[in-house]
């Protein structure tokens, strides 16, 4: 980031015209009329349809693949298998908030030596119709040697567990093991002296929690359209959270130069972290490279569940010690996270976030990254954090209850604030957790009396938020309108937020700015729309591009008026003399400057190429009231309020939307959602009927309270809001159910059978 940029004025410093306003969404009309083009909505002349053959086994060695009968079928134009993808060196590169290894990725997109999970891709065909492609899949003869499998994370760690990879040796333990295992990595974070911390505690509580893998559940299945030219270049249209990462991965996996692959992001029908990696895109490119015809691949819902990344399930042990008056003295946790079939779960951020909301001197967190015969996990909103913070927030709540302290007061007493040292490294700058908790206490919701079988739960959460590489172009058009070109896919209204910030800087009406999400050929590298970075990082670049455009316009006017640049100021969308000393000139508006641009030096634009630093951490608290039906175990959500520090809400409606959507994903994760495997290691609920995400009829309105403690590293104070809302709700739901029943549950989902079981066990 350019540090000369003037940052740090807060929303209160001046009257804001567009920042903080509920402006029209530029892409809105196309999305309510059906015109917006999503991943599956594109087609090209001569297009073929790709379909993927997937493993029916959880774990098996591939003895042979015979594609000859499929290739002979009329209408089949190409078949690809492992032989069509070159093996890759083991090399870790960032993808979203996770690291990926191309040796693993090439095996995940197409199985090589073994299939490692039910749904693992084995071969793909391209045919003139979907029907023919499906027929062809049935003609591919794959001979398997079925191997023992392991699904559960604790079982996968046990000695003698079926091994997924015989060359995986646990990293992070000394001495390095000589025997392979399913444990890819051990992590540890330490601060203070954990033993003396517990020695000073009056109350110590230690519990173990279990969560199941849950899917991001975006309504739009993965879809792409690839077209390879005989000249060696290719175009790829796909639904993704990051076209530049798709380009990076595909160019590597298909073996082509980055400049030869042009990736255009479609409108994206939900991602939540799940569209930060590639699955079908390299396959479509490989099929197109064989046929020189456009190839379209769209996953079915069954494929989405079986073959794209859910988030980890976890087993988390938490131990917390407090004094009688409610001061947390020591915190310890051990996290075992499922990575799926390849290493790289979200256990690291899980470890880092676990106790981050609290100002504690003595912390020890150990994390384990564990493989099992499940699809490789992908990010899901604040990856890793909900699992560890759920366990911590349940323990915190129970301890507050033990000493008879109000759960919000308990959190307030221990809340992280500016200057708090985290166990994972940095000291916090200005953060808004105290303000969030104070706002929580002040809510009317907190005072509503509860009836029989009803309970209220509180949970809090923390996420870092991130910045990263970002490019923006802002073109001043001949008629005085502007085209704002960004490289960050819009996953929840970000175009509107970018326009608000650009209009604010330029002092012009927001409607004059037309935003475009660029393909990879237009701008330099942009990191993913992930990690709650888009409004922060793309916003910073947008502001910088706008300021750059303003400076360029001031230069043109200074030249025209023949006065120094600093004698020309920009106010309310026009260049003006800085003072009467600068001379008597009529202000020149942006359209006037644009109109004569050819005579003053040619086209005008603003640019920014930055690596945004200084993201502001996000804290939130959820408060929920539930009613439990003791006969059926059904949990009804009565009231729900999300309280979160946004730093600054650039577009309050979309901030509320992030809070509400995250809360409901928490409700689903807490009450219903889980991957269910049979004894055979096959997924049994790969559809929305059996993998039940929350419905409109399950829910009340979701109230929101936007707290604004500005991030000093963003001109308007933005922190980023997308991740934090999925963290606090798991514990809030669990604590609410616990309070309703007078017993403590320690596993998710709290589905009716599990609630009934807990009631039964407590009554024995």
């Amino acid at each position: 980031m350019d540090n000369s940029m003037d940052v740090g004025y807060s929303a209160d410093d001046k009257e804001l015209k567009f920042v903080g306003k509920r402006t029209n969404r530029p892409d809105g009309v196309d999305k309510v009329t059906g015109r917006a083009r999503f991943g599956a909505d594109a087609r090209l002349p001569g297009m073929l349809y790709g379909k993927i053959l997937r493993s029916p086994h959880a774990h098996a060695r591939i003895i042979s693949i015979d594609t000859s009968k499929a290739e002979a079928l009329s209408g089949v134009k190409a078949v690809v298998t492992r032989d069509d993808f070159e093996d890759r060196d083991s090399e870790f590169v960032p993808a979203g908030e996770m690291m990926v290894n191309y040796r693993d990725m090439v095996r995940n997109i197409m199985a090589r030596e073994k299939v490692l999970y039910d749904g693992h891709a084995v071969a793909a065909v391209a045919a003139t119709s979907v029907t023919i492609a499906k027929q062809a899949l049935k003609l591919i003869d794959v001979q398997y040697e079925v191997l023992p499998h392991v699904i559960d994370v604790v079982e996968a760690m046990a000695p003698g567990a079926p091994l997924l990879h015989d060359d995986l040796f646990t990293d992070g333990v000394e001495p390095k093991p000589t025997k392979p295992s399913n444990v890819a990595k051990r992590l540890e974070f330490n601060m203070g002296d954990i033993a003396s911390g517990f020695a000073e505690a009056d109350e110590i509580l230690e519990k173990t929690f279990d969560t199941k893998p849950v899917h991001q559940g975006y309504i739009e299945p993965h879809s792409c359209l690839a077209s390879f030219s005989e000249n060696g270049s290719a175009e790829l249209w796909c639904s993704t959270q990051g076209q530049y990462l798709v380009r990076a991965h595909c160019s590597k996996l298909v073996g082509m130069e980055i400049s030869k692959l042009r990736v255009t992001p479609s409108e994206i029908g939900g991602g939540f972290g799940g569209k930060t990696v590639v699955f079908i895109e390299p396959i479509a490119l490989a099929l197109s490279k064989k046929t020189y015809r456009p190839i379209k691949i769209t996953m079915t819902r069954d494929e989405v569940f079986r073959s794209s990344g859910p988030t980890s399930g976890g087993n988390v042990r938490v131990k917390v010690g407090i004094t009688k008056d409610g001061k947390i003295m020591a915190c310890e946790a051990e996290l075992k996270y499922q990575a799926g079939a390849f290493q790289g779960s979200s256990v690291q951020p899980g470890c880092m976030c676990a106790f981050a909301p609290y100002d504690v001197a003595n912390v020890n967190v150990i994390g384990w990254d564990v493989l099992s015969n499940r699809p490789k996990v992908a990010a899901y909103r604040a990856p890793g954090a909900p699992i560890s913070e759920y366990a911590v927030e349940c323990v915190i709540d129970e301890l507050a209850e033990r000493i008879g302290m109000d759960p919000v007061d308990f959190r307030l007493k221990n809340a992280a604030k500016e200057g708090t040292q985290t166990a994972y490294g940095p000291k916090f700058g200005p953060v808004g957790f105290v303000e969030v908790l104070e706002a929580t206490k002040a809510l009317d919701h907190y005072k509503i009396p509860l009836g029989p079988n009803q309970g209220r739960g509180i949970g809090s959460g923390f996420w870092f938020n991130i910045g990263g590489e970002t490019c923006v172009n802002l073109n001043v058009n001949e008629d005085g309108t502007l085209t704002l070109i960004t490289g960050s896919p819009d996953i929840g209204g970000s175009r509107a937020s970018m326009c608000n910030m650009a209009a604010e800087e330029l002092g012009i009406d927001v409607g004059l700015i037309n935003p475009i999400i660029a393909d990879t050929s237009v701008l330099g590298f942009n990191f993913l729309s992930a990690g709650s970075r888009t409004t922060f990082a793309c916003g910073l670049a947008t502001i910088e591009a706008a300021r750059n455009a303003i400076e360029n316009m001031r230069k043109r006017v200074a030249q025209l008026w023949d006065i120094p640049l600093d004698a020309v100021v920009w106010e309310d969308g026009a260049a003006r003399p800085a003072s009467s000393n600068a001379g008597e000139f009529e202000p020149m508006t942006l359209p006037e400057i644009a109109k004569i641009a050819p005579k003053t030096g040619g086209p005008i634009a603003g640019h920014a190429e930055i690596n945004a630093q200084g993201a502001g951490p996000g804290f939130g608290t959820h408060m929920v009231d539930v009613e439990v039906d003791k006969e059926t175990g059904h949990v009804k959500v009565l009231r729900y309020t999300v309280i979160q520090d946004a730093g600054k809400a650039i577009h309050p409606s979309f901030v509320e939307g992030q809070y509400q959507g995250g809360a409901v994903q928490c409700i689903g994760w807490a009450l219903n959602e889980e991957y269910v495997y049979g004894e055979d290691g096959r997924l049994q609920n790969s559809g929305f009927l059996d993998y039940r995400i929350p419905l409109a009829s399950d829910l009340p309105m979701i109230d929101t309270k936007i707290v604004e403690v500005p991030n000093p590293n963003h001109p308007y104070g933005v922190r980023g809001v997308g991740e934090t809302p999925i963290i606090p709700g798991l514990a809030a739901m669990s604590n609410a159910i616990s309070n309703a029943l007078g017993l403590r549950m320690s596993e998710l989902p709290m589905s009716p059978p599990k609630v009934l079981k807990a009631i039964k066990e407590a009554s024995v």
């Binding site: 309510v32 599956a40 309504i219 559809g687």
Partner: protein, 158 residues
């Protein structure tokens, strides 16, 4: 099996096409008629992203065969606005920011319109149960429900 000849009406336009017997109405709308506003989220009738109205009845077009369109009148999202004038539901969805990614939006709008034609003054609970067949993963439904309630109010006053 040979393709079958189908004549149908979609958004008041008459169409004729040869239909694969196995093709769903959703496949026909999207691939044959290029009406890609109806979305496929599941193809099993669970998500409602493909909702259309067939002879006045709200259906998941993924669960209806293309050949069943014969002689029927179909309404899709593409027929909802009147020229440049948006339907009150469409406008309220924009005003309430009742969409984030927008993939479920066409189906939700078609379903909500069908509700308001049957029941111009629904309670919040009635809206929630009517839309229980339309999955949205982004919004938590709050703003969707509010937009439908406000559109109903606006339409009653008109």
């Amino acid at each position: 099996m040979a393709k079958q000849h189908v004549t149908t009406t979609v958004n008041n336009d008459e169409f004729e096409f040869l239909c694969e017997p196995k093709a769903s109405m959703l496949d026909v709308l999207r691939d044959e008629l290029n009406l890609t506003g109806s979305k496929e989220g599941c193809a099993t009738g669970d998500c409602g992203a493909c909702s259309v109205v067939m002879d006045g009845r709200l259906v998941c077009s993924c669960l209806v065969l293309g050949v069943e369109m014969e002689g029927k009148s179909i309404e899709t999202i593409e027929g909802m606005a009147d020229g440049e004038k948006l339907h009150p539901l469409q406008q309220q969805f924009l005003d309430h920011a009742a969409l984030q990614c927008g993939i479920c939006t066409p189906g939700v709008l078609v379903a909500a319109k069908a509700l308001l034609e049957k029941n111009p003054d629904p309670t919040e609970t009635e809206v929630r149960y009517w839309l229980a067949g339309n999955l949205c993963r982004c919004t938590g439904y709050d703003k969707i429900i509010r937009a439908v309630m406000d559109a109903a109010k606006e339409m009653r006053a008109a």
